[in-house]
Amino acid sequence: VRTHSARQGASWQPGWTEEFERFYQLNHAQVRFFLRARCPDHLVDDVLQEVFSAAYTRWGEVREHAKPLAWVYRVAINKYSDAVREATAQHKLLKKLHDPVETDSAHPQGRIDSALLARQLLGRLPRSEAHAFLLFHLGWSEKETASILNVTLHTCRTYKKRARIKLREAAKELGLGDGGAA
């Protein structure tokens, strides 16, 4: 574990700002999509801002990672949990507002409908299972997903398997055929 106190005191180098801006531009939407699936919008924006700000501040260290985005996901998941705990009262009320989302779920034609439906489906899963399924969907391997979520490989596989079963059931309920979850 390399914490802040043990970090190498890398001073800011020319070109890092532009490099991080490209990283941010490329990955922001994906991380936002990931968080939005299980988190009220106002928390998502706060968490995103904090996480990318932290990544920028520590870019000297984070850029050295094989995949800096993995670090962003891990911090985002931890920050999200903190934010939810701090905002328990608000979250509970907001959850009521977000449930259930009215949509023509049988035939989600447009992008907005798909976003609502994705939220509705993933909202039925425990957070850890939804995160495991989403990271896999976003192209991370099982090993990487396990590391980001800080669970064992076996747990990660189980979460993914459970998510798939539950999503399939949910899809059937919503009239999406067998759901075809990959």
Partner: protein, 627 residues
């Protein structure tokens, strides 16, 4: 369509994409944060694990334990085959054991609350037997008896060949979170209960004089009509405008309070006294008809000749409309009040002190409606309806950014709060014309406003159910080139209750158009929380009853604070009404209320006198204390 398709489409949703401008702006913010972090003690990244999550440790248990330690979680491992149980120092502390205590499954279970012990044992056995991860919550009891709540996740440990060797548990202390949830549940329940109970009694009283209000008076009248005969006296005060003009607005309020006190002394103990409008009082004389009622009316008129102000100042004149009713009829208190109002109208027209209305049953409903339509028409066409504007201050900026438009009726060259007039108009279906008149005037006001301020307009329950109103609003806004976001419609809870479906449709249509919606008099009616959940309100106006006594009343403080917190969580702005002093304003700022309205901010003024620039108010005293 399968789930992968849905997720793929959702990931491309435009809402998750940032524009170039947003990216640049955020980069500037990141740079500011980075510079701040260079100052010792101001680094928000302190304590973060900066290691690469993908640099996999060979030992999964070690990796997870290290991360858990960093996140403040306790960990334990259990390998049944080896009869081995171990825990981290943090876990020992969570279970209230000394670091040197030898870990054991039995010791762990000893600390689990007795009611949860079997469940925890079952979960441990199930995860171990089924080789499946599990999550659950349980309580622990510390040595001193303190109960804490833990959230545990059990994961299966495998050897290099994939054979399960035991369980790894992580535990998070969630006591604060559980307490918060419970407190919130309790608060919501209490808020609803208190509002229902308090709202019932408050809803019956005029806040200024504490006399019965129109609603309660009508209820009393209905009961009396069913059981016996009697008389209704309707008293109208004239001259209040001049009093206000000469002596300031407080003088008018003082006169109203003095009249209430005097009337309470003049009427009999069995009579029912109420303030049913800004300058209107009503007296119900049960079991008293023509021969006996007249002397009582005259005695009241005589008492009302008492000069309420010092010599030389304008007198306040009282007119009385009187109607009798006979018993055993269907309840029609509102109709009777309308007839009494007509008699009062005649008294004003004839400059007579007392006028007796027509005998009961002689006025048909159609005739009553015809007369009222005529009166409303005259009021609108004759410009007898004046619009006044009361400022609303944005407490975060201390600037007046909005005005609520209030109607004043000048039928007798003496603008009054026409609540009685409006109640009758609503009952007889003529209120929609009045609401439309106000909307037109509001939009005209916005066209001519140089500083882009915002106005709020009250809507009656009838208008809420009026089908063409949203289209009318849309046409007016579009033809005048006014942004819909500058107009807020205030709707009372009572208006919503009468037809929830129509209210929902109405609210949705106005909201789609871009206008804002405010829930007026929040807390004084019923089912307020449900309204907040189901209708797209942008703003809640906290009923003045909770605000007027805020500095002294602990219950009011708790309720206003809770409403502010709840609304903040829901993304709904709050406005406190009846803010009468700067100390109250300061308390509202502390509670997180967004805006304030009341005499401490400004009294209603004719719309022609609205300043041409946004008003900055004097600084709020932020150190005010409450009892």
């Amino acid at each position: 369509m399968n789930i992968d398709d849905i997720l793929r489409r959702a990931a491309q949703e435009p809402a998750v994409q940032l524009s170039e401008v947003e990216i640049r702006r955020n980069m500037r913010l990141f740079e500011l944060d980075r510079r701040k972090s260079l100052t010792p003690g101001h680094d928000p990244t302190a304590g973060l694990d900066l290691g690469d999550p993908l640099e996999l440790a060979d030992d999964e248990a070690l990796r997870i334990a290290q991360q858990a330690e960093l996140l403040g979680l306790g960990t334990f491992t259990w390998r049944p085959a080896e009869d081995m149980f171990a825990w981290s120092g943090r876990m020992a502390s969570m279970l209230d054991y000394l670091p040197e205590a030898k870990p054991a499954r039995r010791l762990y279970l000893d600390r689990v609350h007795k009611d949860d012990r079997k469940t925890v044992e079952d979960h441990l056995n199930q995860a171990s037997d089924d080789h499946e991860p599990l999550a659950f919550e349980h309580r622990t009891v510390r040595a001193n008896g303190e109960v804490r709540h833990l959230e545990c996740v059990l994961q299966v440990l495998l050897d290099p060949h994939g054979t399960p060797t035991g369980l790894l548990g992580t535990a998070r202390d969630i006591t604060e979170s559980v307490m918060d949830k419970r407190a919130l549940a309790r608060l919501s329940k209490r808020l609803e209960t208190v509002m229902a109970v308090v709202g019932e009694s408050l809803a019956d009283r005029d806040p200024h004089t504490r006399l019965f209000n129109r609603r309660r008076f009508v209820a009393e009248l209905d009961r009396e009509i069913r059981t016996g005969e009697g008389t209704v006296l309707l008293l109208g005060l004239e001259g209040l405008r001049e009093v206000n003009r000469q002596n300031g607005p407080q003088a008018g309020d003082d006169v109203v309070a003095a009249v209430a006190k005097l009337l309470a002394n003049v009427v009999r103990p069995t009579d029912v006294l109420a303030r049913i409008g800004g300058n209107e009082f009503a007296v119900l004389l049960p079991r008293t008809i023509a021969p006996g009622a007249r002397p009582i009316a005259e005695r009241i008129a005589q008492a009302m000749r008492t000069p309420f102000l010092a010599a030389g100042q304008s007198p306040v004149v009282t007119r009385i409309g009187m109607v009798h009713f006979s018993g055993g009829q269907p309840a029609a208190g509102e109709d009777l009040l309308i007839d009494a109002d007509q008699a009062l109208y005649d008294a004003k027209e004839r400059s007579t002190e007392i006028v007796e209305g027509l005998p009961p049953g002689s006025v048909s409903a159609a005739e009553r409606r015809r007369r009222w339509r005529k009166r409303v028409r005259i009021a609108i066409r004759g410009d007898l309806l004046d619009l006044h504007a009361q400022p609303i201050v944005d407490l975060s900026r201390n600037v007046v950014t909005r005005h609520e438009l209030l109607l004043r009726l000048s039928e007798w060259n003496d603008p009054i709060t026409p609540s009685s007039f409006l109640s009758t108009a609503e009952r007889l279906g003529t209120i929609v014309q009045i609401d439309q008149y106000v909307i037109r005037k509001a939009i005209e006001l916005l066209v001519n406003d140089p500083c882009g301020r915002h106005v709020q307009v009250n809507l009656s329950g009838r208008s809420v159910c009026e089908e063409g109103l949203p289209e009318l609003v849309a046409d007016l806004l579009s033809s005048h080139g006014v942004k819909p976001s500058r107009l807020t419609f205030e709707i009372t809870e009572t208006a919503l209750i009468s037809n929830m479906t129509a209210a929902r449709q109405f609210a949705d249509r106005l909201h789609e158009m871009g206008c804002q919606l405010a829930l007026d008099d929040f807390g004084s009616g019923y089912a307020s929380l449900a309204h907040l959940k189901y209708l797209p309100f942008d703003m809640v106006k906290i009923d003045g009853e909770f605000v007027a006594g805020l500095l002294e009343n602990k219950s009011d403080q708790i309720m206003v604070k809770s409403i502010a917190q709840m609304c903040a969580g829901l993304g709904v702005q709050t406005v406190a009404e009846f803010v009468e002093n700067t100390e109250t304003k300061a308390v509202l700022v502390d509670y997180g209320v967004d805006m304030a309205q009341g005499f401490a901010v400004g009294r209603p003024i004719p719309i022609s006198e609205i300043p041409n620039s946004l008003e900055q108010l004097p600084d709020i005293i932020r150190t005010a204390s409450v009892s």
